[in-house]
């Protein structure tokens, strides 16, 4: 302020004296008077400033004292062993399902059911509810444990869905993870089912990944220092679960590689695309396969929302294409079958979800599979399923979803399925991935 006034005074003096040229007393007196007036004004402003500064200083001191006072209750109990408890998050999930076809007789032409593929139980049932603990372990590691409660044929079981530690302090955009986790391939595979827009996974995921591929292993990810998001990831997994099995290569039967890229287009649209490959040596897999199999996944997500406010409205489009190749044998010891199994199968889904307002979502998903024309599971029918969904959200922590599916997964077998599902998130609710 002071510096600025001086500068402007000098400028005024220069401006008025230089062009005048000839000395004359009257303008100088007038100028002097103006300077005196300006000086008086400056003194007033400075005095006011000092006063304001004093006020601010006292205000500044007051909140600091208040902070100290407010911090007291927390520091009064420093010995509480619970203070460092991890964040606990619970997902409760249940459904009421109506199937025109007995879920026991359900099959997908060309794709033996493995993992958690296939429709859930008829009637009322507890879906997959989850209990998750997560926290920073120390300054270098983060840890997460997710337990899933499942109920099958009247028996409840608790399974370890994810249990891993992850680095937080590696340099150069690197992070490493070890333990059991969902593989970083594709889009849906890296996401927990409770973040899905539909009540179940697409046919392609059910048939080729047993719903979702999780295994014990290690993972390394690198994010490039670029304007466009670019992430490279690689994993070495045990190979215990479908689409692999038998923990081949001394317990390192699966290797994966993935590349994901993404960015924004303007203020209202964003995209994420990826290509992944899972390479497996399988010994006696759940679908009876032994040999080398490989799964390629291409995924693309596009989200548009007015001003980028995805909560209030907008459109979200996603598609994934899965290509599965096999080179090995199909074995069924109970029936004494041992035949070659070589070939390839494909699956795709395309889904669109329209957010009408913060409460309501409506969506459609198209599922399609292409079985092999030869081999032990040859079929000339392409399974197709249409799904319509309507979701009502009370808050970001609870929702009720209604889904209708017309499922033509096998010849002469049409299932009309109507599912009413609730889902709720209790406790600490971690941020979701894009």
């Amino acid at each position: 302020m002071r510096a600025r006034l001086t500068v402007s005074l000098c400028a005024m003096l220069l401006a008025s004296s230089v062009p005048a040229g000839t000395p004359s007393t009257a303008p100088i007196e007038a100028l002097e008077a103006r300077i005196r007036a300006l000086e008086a004004q400056t003194r007033e402003v400075l005095a006011a400033l000092d006063q304001a500064r004093a006020e601010i200083a006292s205000l500044r001191a007051a909140p600091t004292q208040a902070v100290a006072a407010a911090a007291l209750p927390e520091s009064a109990a420093p010995s509480s062993p619970n203070a460092f408890n991890p964040a606990i998050s619970i997902i409760l999930n249940g459904s009421l399902a109506q199937h025109s076809l007995d879920p026991e007789t359900y099959q997908i032409a060309g794709f033996p059911l493995a993992g958690e593929a296939g429709p859930g139980a008829r009637g009322l049932s507890l879906g997959e509810s989850e209990l998750s603990f997560a926290t920073n372990i120390d300054e270098k590691f983060y840890g997460q444990l997710t337990l899933a409660v499942e109920s099958e044929d009247g028996e409840d079981g608790i399974g370890v869905e994810e249990a891993y530690i992850e680095t937080t302090a590696l340099p150069a955009g690197l992070s490493a993870r070890a333990g059991r986790f969902f593989s970083n391939i594709g889009y849906l595979n890296t996401h927990h089912a409770h973040t899905d827009a539909f009540a179940d996974r697409p046919l392609a995921y059910q048939a080729l990944l047993g719903n979702q591929y999780a295994d014990d292993g290690v993972q390394l990810r690198w994010v490039a220092p670029t304007d466009v998001y670019l992430e490279l990831g690689g994993e070495l997994m045990r190979g215990q679960s479908f689409p692999s099995g038998g923990a081949a290569r001394s317990g390192s039967g699966v290797r994966t590689l993935s590349v994901h890229a993404g960015g924004d287009v303007g203020d209202e649209s964003s995209w994420l695309a990826g290509v992944s490959v899972l390479d497996a040596r399988t010994e006696d897999g759940e679908d009876g396969f032994s040999g080398d199999n490989r799964l390629y996944i291409a995924d693309l997500t596009w989200k548009w929302a007015p001003n980028g406010n995805t909560r209030d409205g907008g459109l979200s489009l996603r598609s994934e294409y899965l290509h599965d190749t096999r080179d090995g044998r199909y074995l069924d010891s109970t029936q004494g079958i041992d035949v070659p199994w070589a070939g390839s199968r494909d699956g795709v889904y395309v889904e669109g979800v329209w957010r009408l307002n913060p409460q309501w979502d409506a969506g459609y998903r198209h599922d399609r599979l292409w079985p092999d024309a030869s081999g032990p599971f040859a079929s000339d029918t392409d399974p197709v399923r249409h799904n319509l969904m309507l979701t009502w959200r009370n808050s970001e922590f609870s929702l009720i979803r209604l889904q209708y599916s017309r499922d033509d997964a096998a010849p002469a077998q049409r299932d009309h399925a109507l599912t009413l599902q609730y889902q709720a998130a209790l406790g600490a609710h971690g941020a979701h991935k894009f």
Partner: protein
């Protein structure tokens, strides 16, 4: 290509880049981006994650944001749970140890005393923040406190430019204090007036200017206004000589217009952050415009 060569090449180029380039700041909200600009000028490159037309409670952990955070040397955000739905995910995915550590993470709410610390945390009461109301940017006194702490942090993270940050803080603080005086004088007629708000984003402005909040369009924080709740506000708004129904630039106008039509009280849209109004181009203009709009409603 030999992997070792590739890797050491990458490392070398990374070092070469970091030695030459300015530091990069990732600001969650436009107000903190603007404050960094005041304090650092062109000594830093600022990426602002959100715009004034976005609801910062509800941002998605978009790939573009991960890419921005990946390259940041300093993260400047409100904190206090405001970004809980997306920032932790960005940090976990970006693999950037600099901003995951104490020095690289600057949270504005942690630098001031907050209002509305809930005595009881229950989600039945809406989207509460355990650390108090995090919308602190509409109190210029608190902004100054944040500026002091932020300048200190910039000096720590970018020691080479320490003098520059000190000078710019001095300059900012002088101009800011003079502006505060001006704002307080201009806003004197607002003292004691009643307002109805959309979301509880204005408690710090109210505390500073002596405004009374008599109601909110959201029955509970974060829960969209319902018609039943709005109907209940009509009589109160009408009978309390209410100055205005205030909403932020990003909020849907429907609810406040509805109440305005039935109560005769003007509904006004305040910027809430830099860029929320075309005139609110920096922090100074943000307060000028806010006071203009409130005084406009008073006439």
């Amino acid at each position: 290509m030999n992997f070792r060569h590739l890797f050491s090449g990458l490392l070398l180029s990374a070092f070469a880049l970091s030695a030459a380039a300015q530091i990069r700041v990732f600001a969650c909200e436009p107000e903190w981006g603007a404050l960094v600009n005041e304090l650092a000028g062109d000594a830093v490159t600022v990426d602002v994650a959100t715009s004034a037309l976005q609801d910062v409670h509800q941002i998605e952990a978009r790939p573009s944001l991960i890419a921005k955070l990946r390259r940041a040397d300093l993260l400047v955000c409100s904190g206090g749970g405001l970004e809980a739905g997306w920032l932790p995910q960005l940090i976990r995915q970006a693999g950037n140890a600099r901003v995951a550590s104490a020095d690289g993470m600057f949270l504005a709410v942690a630098q001031v005393t907050t209002l509305e610390r809930p005595s009881q945390l229950d989600r039945a009461a809406g989207d509460l923040h355990a650390e108090g109301n995090p919308h602190i940017q509409m109190d210029p006194r608190r902004v100054l406190q944040v500026a002091n702490a932020l300048a200190a942090r910039l000096q720590k993270v970018d020691a080479a430019n320490a003098t520059r940050y000190a000078q710019r803080l001095e300059d900012f603080s002088t101009r800011w204090q003079a502006a505060m005086l001006r704002w307080q004088q201009r806003a004197a007629p607002l003292r004691g007036r009643n307002i109805v708000v959309h979301h509880k984003s204005w408690v710090y402005l109210e505390e500073w200017l002596g405004l009374n909040e008599i109601g909110a369009l959201e029955a509970k924080p974060g829960v969209p206004p319902t018609s039943a709740h709005l109907a209940g506000l009509v009589a109160l708004t009408k009978d309390s000589q209410t100055l205005a129904i205030v909403r932020a630039a990003y909020q849907d106008a429907k609810a406040s217009r509805w109440l305005s039509e039935r109560s005769g009280v003007p509904a006004i849209r305040l910027p809430l952050t830099v860029g929320g109004d075309e005139r609110a181009t920096d922090l100074f203009a943000l307060f000028d415009v806010t006071i203009d709009l409130l005084l406009g409603a008073a006439q």
